[in-house]
Structure formats: C-alpha cells, structure tokens
C-alpha cells in the first residue's frame, strides 16, 4: 500500500510551503489562462511572458492543495528561460509520467519500475502521485493551464 511519504516528498512540501514564482503579471505583455479542478474547487491562474521564442517570466495565482500548488511551482522553475518548444517537451514528458495509471498500471503498481521518461529532474518527485489516482488531476492542473496559456500565445484571442 502506498504511504504518505510516496506522495508528500520533501521537495514537494518545500515547494508547497515556499512556492516559487507566485503572483500575477500584467496582461499584456503577459498572457493568462485559468484552470479549474471541478472535483475539489481548486483554481489556478498561469501568467506567461514570451519574448521572441523564450519564456521570460511565469507566475502562478489561485488556490489549491499541496500537490497542485507544488506541481505548478516546480513547473515554473522547469520552464522559465526555456523556449516554447522546449517547454512543450517538458510538458509532454510530465504528462506522460502522470498518465501511467490511465495506461493500466493500476494504483498498486510501482511507477518507479515503469519505463517512463526521465530527465525531469526535481519533477520526478511527483512520480508518486500516480499511486493516488484521484490526485493526478491536482498534479496536472497547473500544467494543463500552462498549456492553455501557450495556446493563447500561439493564437491570441
């Protein structure tokens, strides 16, 4: 049975207690997207500034649980300074890591054994979330919202 320490790794709690890049940015130049987790009422706003190809600034607003907040916080440090394409690669890898359960491994399997993409650095700490299927939506909330923000950059409304 997965224990709490599988879910709440030290680095996750650290990002929860000391979230990086929290706040708001002026729009424009930033674009903003808003995401909801209808299950628990969590709300997140992702502000992104793209200069040329590069993500020069990103901020997270809204409220949520430790998993959604820390995941979004870790995301900001992983993508800031990267090009949009590089950020999309990280996003893809992260979502792949989170989709193990949906691919039938089940909650009791050990995702650490699975051949999922690595190279996610600190983000690997969130791997344990897949053992707690209802929390996957928490972990991916910020990322999906970031995805929306990037779509906004591509084709402004």
């Amino acid at each position: 049975m997965p224990g709490l320490e599988d879910l709440y790794r030290e680095i996750i709690l650290d990002h929860y207690r000391n979230p990086r890049n929290r706040g708001e940015l002026e729009t424009p130049p930033a674009v903003v997207a808003e995401g909801f987790n209808p299950l628990c009422g969590d709300e997140v706003k992702v502000y992104v500034v793209v200069d040329g190809d590069t993500i020069t600034d990103i901020r997270i607003g809204g409220q949520g649980c430790s998993i959604s907040q820390s995941s979004a916080s870790m995301m900001t440090t992983a993508v800031v300074g990267k090009t949009v394409d590089e950020a999309r690669d990280v996003l893809r890898s992260f979502k792949q890591m989170m989709s193990i359960h949906e691919h039938g491994l089940g909650a009791d399997a050990d995702p650490a054994d699975a051949s999922t993409p690595s190279g996610l650095g600190d983000l690997e700490a969130l791997r344990g979330v897949v053992k707690f299927p209802v929390r996957i939506k928490c972990a991916t909330l910020g990322w999906n919202t970031f995805d929306q923000a990037l779509a906004e950059v591509d084709s402004p409304a």
Partner: protein, 413 residues
C-alpha cells in the same frame, strides 16, 4: 417510540461494510453526507427480489410479476408513510434528488413560469437545487434570486419580505450539506404561500436524519434521495401535493407513463406513474422500502437524538483539542443543526487533510460539496467534511480527532 434510544454498537453491526478495514485499520466512515452505508436488511431485500421475484412490473399477469409489482408498490406506501404523506400517489420515484428537482423545473416550471418570474433559492443550496433554475433562467428569462446567509452558515431571513416580491417558487434546502444548518422550512413555506408562491424543499440531508412530516413542513414539493438514507443508489423521491402533480404534464415520454397511445398522440397515465417513464428501478424501490422500514424500526426520533448528542460531542471534542486551529463552518451548537462538520485545519488544504485522514481509515469528503455559491460566501474553495449518521459513535469522533492531530503534525503548520 420517542423515548427510545439508539444502541450504536448494535446499529453498527447491522452494516456489513463497517466491519471492514482499510489500510490495516478499522474503517471510520464519516461521509454519510455523500452517501450512507447500507444495512443488511436492505441488501437482503434487494437480493431476495432478484433471487425470488424478478419480473417487470405492471405488465405480466403471472405470479412473480404480481409479486414484484406488489413489492415495489408496497415500497411506495412505506415511503409515503415515512414522510407523513396521506396519499401514496403523491410519491414519485425518480433516479435521485437531482432528478426530482429537475422534474419540478421541467414539468411544473415550464408550464407555470414566464419571463420575469422569480425563483427564490438560498445560498445554502446544493447545485442540484440551483442549476435547474439557472437553466430555466437561460431558457425562459426567469430570475434566480438568493436568500443570503449569516457568518455562521445559517439563512439570513432579515430581508425575507422584500426578497419575496415577484416570487413564484421558493426552492430551499431543509438541511445544508455544508454547514449543517436546518433552516426554518415551515416559516419559508408559509412565507411563500403568503405571496401566492409554491415551496419546494430539498430534503436530501433532512429525511435521512429527522422525522419528516410533509404536512408539518407545509411545503408543496419535497425532493430527497435514497442512497443517503440507508437505501441504494439509483432511487430518489419527489413528493408533491396531489392537485399539483395532477396538473403537471409528463417529463419523460415512453412506456409506463401512458394510458393510451394512438397514431395521433397519447394520453398520459395517472400520477405517480405519469412521471415514471420506462421500466422503473424495481430492486432499488424495494431497497428503499426496506431502508425506510429499517429506519422506522429504530425510530427517527431516536436516530435524531443520537445524532444531536454525537454532534454535540464532536463540536466539544474538536473545539477542546484544536481550539482556533480548526475552523468548523456552521452553527457553533446543535440548535437546528445537523451532524455535518465542514472543517479547515490551519493552512492545510482539504484535499491534503483528507489524504492524511484516509491513511488512518477515516473517510471524509474534501472539496466544494457541490455548493460553490456557498463556498464563495464562506471564503473557502474547499473544506474537509465529516458527516455523522446513526451508526457513528464517540469512538469515530475520537478517531477523527486523532487523525486530525496526525495531519497537523505531518504538515506542521
């Protein structure tokens, strides 16, 4: 029966699921506000139906079909008796409380409400008693108006007279699924009638916990759901005054709801079958009947007294142990209050809190409880909600308090 007390240990033993363990510890089930557990009597009644008399109802003239029809209609009579309805034809079986409210919105609302008419709801409502009216607002241009709440999660009826202007329907909860408040339904129903409006009561969190008499409540419609009152999922009830139901057109069309079908049209059946299109959930009707019989045997006054005592114990225990670190949204004492405890512990998010509680076998609900307008009013996005029922006892409350302690330690706020 009114002096009867509940033997909590004996009651607990009636519920097979409550004997199980999760994560190596005995389960502590505190989420009856979401759905209750089911006593052996209900499970057996449903099994017996399938094993002995499974047949479609109101159709066959053979032995088991007649038995199935009688058993399901007996359930209707049991439910009618349980809520003090004198005419069992006033009991319409639906899928759940949500469908019951939607039935009123469709069948009564669409033939009686026009642009500018007001439906008065309250900020305590579950989405089930909000969204159908929003839909009607979008479709018909009716106005949805809100009764505000007080800081302790009760209805604020100070401006009620003013709010009633232009109101055709007052649609209110009899028990909040977030704050536990038990609003004064009789007063609201009388107020509705004083301006010529009707009153629909969402009793989903009331009928399972308090002796219910529709004549005492004074309402015109009562909606509730079977799975929160020891019955199965897939069955709910709309009770309505007979003359109102008689005047309402059908909601869904098909078999069972007709008297006659011709090439050029149809003649609807009598109530309640007019509103029960298609093969009904027969086993679930029988299961709900068994649930009602079970609750009646214990006595709803005894159930209510037990819950009031346990709620008082919980408020006292949690208050003593956590003081201001634990906020319980809702009235501070048990006056007109049910056993619903919506908690925020320090800075810990409800989702995280419930995750830690789960490790200790404690089942609570984390989230917005399908009451987002109320959550906004309370200034929170989520709470962890413990809801007490007849099979809970002080040991469950103690287990909750211990697990909350663990959570506080784990997140070290």
């Amino acid at each position: 029966m009114s002096t009867a007390t509940l033997d909590a240990a004996a009651v607990k033993a009636d519920f097979p699921l409550l004997a199980r363990e999760v994560h190596g510890t005995p389960i502590v089930y505190l989420d009856s506000g979401a759905t209750s557990q089911k006593p052996r009597a209900v499970l057996d009644a449903m099994d017996r139906y399938y094993e002995e008399i499974n047949a479609n109802v109101h159709r066959g003239a053979y032995h088991i079909a007649e038995r199935a029809t009688t058993a399901s209609e007996d359930a209707r009579r049991s439910v009618a008796r349980f809520i003090g309805a004198t005419d069992e034809h006033e009991v319409v079986f639906t899928k759940n409380a949500t469908e019951a409210v939607n039935l009123v919105a469709h069948a009564w609302g669409r033939s009686n409400l026009a642009e500018g008419d007001v439906v008065l709801v309250s900020l305590l409502e579950h989405h089930a008693n909000i969204v159908p009216w929003h839909q009607l607002a979008a479709e018909r241009g009716i106005e949805v108006r809100w009764i505000p709440t007080t800081d302790d999660g009760r209805l604020n009826l100070g401006a009620l007279d003013h709010l009633l202007e232009g109101v055709r329907l007052v649609a209110v909860t009899a028990a909040s699924n977030v704050t536990g408040d038990l609003p004064p339904v009789r007063r609201l129903a009388d107020a509705a009638h004083s301006v010529g409006a009707l009153c629909l009561v969402d009793a989903s969190q009331y009928v399972p916990h308090r002796a219910t008499d529709v004549a005492d409540l004074g309402c015109d419609f009562l909606a509730f759901t079977g799975h929160k009152m020891c019955g199965p999922t897939g069955i709910g009830v709309l009770w309505g005054r007979r003359e109102l139901l008689d005047a309402m057109p059908p909601f869904l069309g098909g078999g069972e709801m007709i008297l006659d079908v011709r090439r050029d049209g149809f003649t609807p059946n009598e109530v309640p079958w007019r509103f029960e299109a298609g093969t009904p959930p027969i086993a679930e009707m029988i299961g709900l009947g068994a649930a009602v019989d079970y609750l009646e045997q214990l006595g709803m006054d005894a159930v209510a007294a037990h819950e009031v005592d346990l709620t008082a114990y919980a408020l006292r225990t949690l208050g003593d142990r956590f003081d201001d670190d634990l906020v319980i949204h809702g009235p501070a004492d048990t006056t007109d209050r049910g056993g619903t405890l919506s908690m925020c512990l320090g800075e810990i998010h409800a989702h995280d809190l419930s995750q830690v509680l789960d490790q200790h076998g404690v089942c609570v609900r984390a989230g917005h409880h399908c009451a987002k307008p109320l959550m906004r009013e309370l200034g929170v996005t989520a709470t962890a909600r413990a809801s007490l029922y007849l099979y809970n006892d002080e040991s469950d409350v103690d287990a909750l308090a211990d697990a909350l302690d663990e959570a506080a330690r784990f997140f070290a706020f």
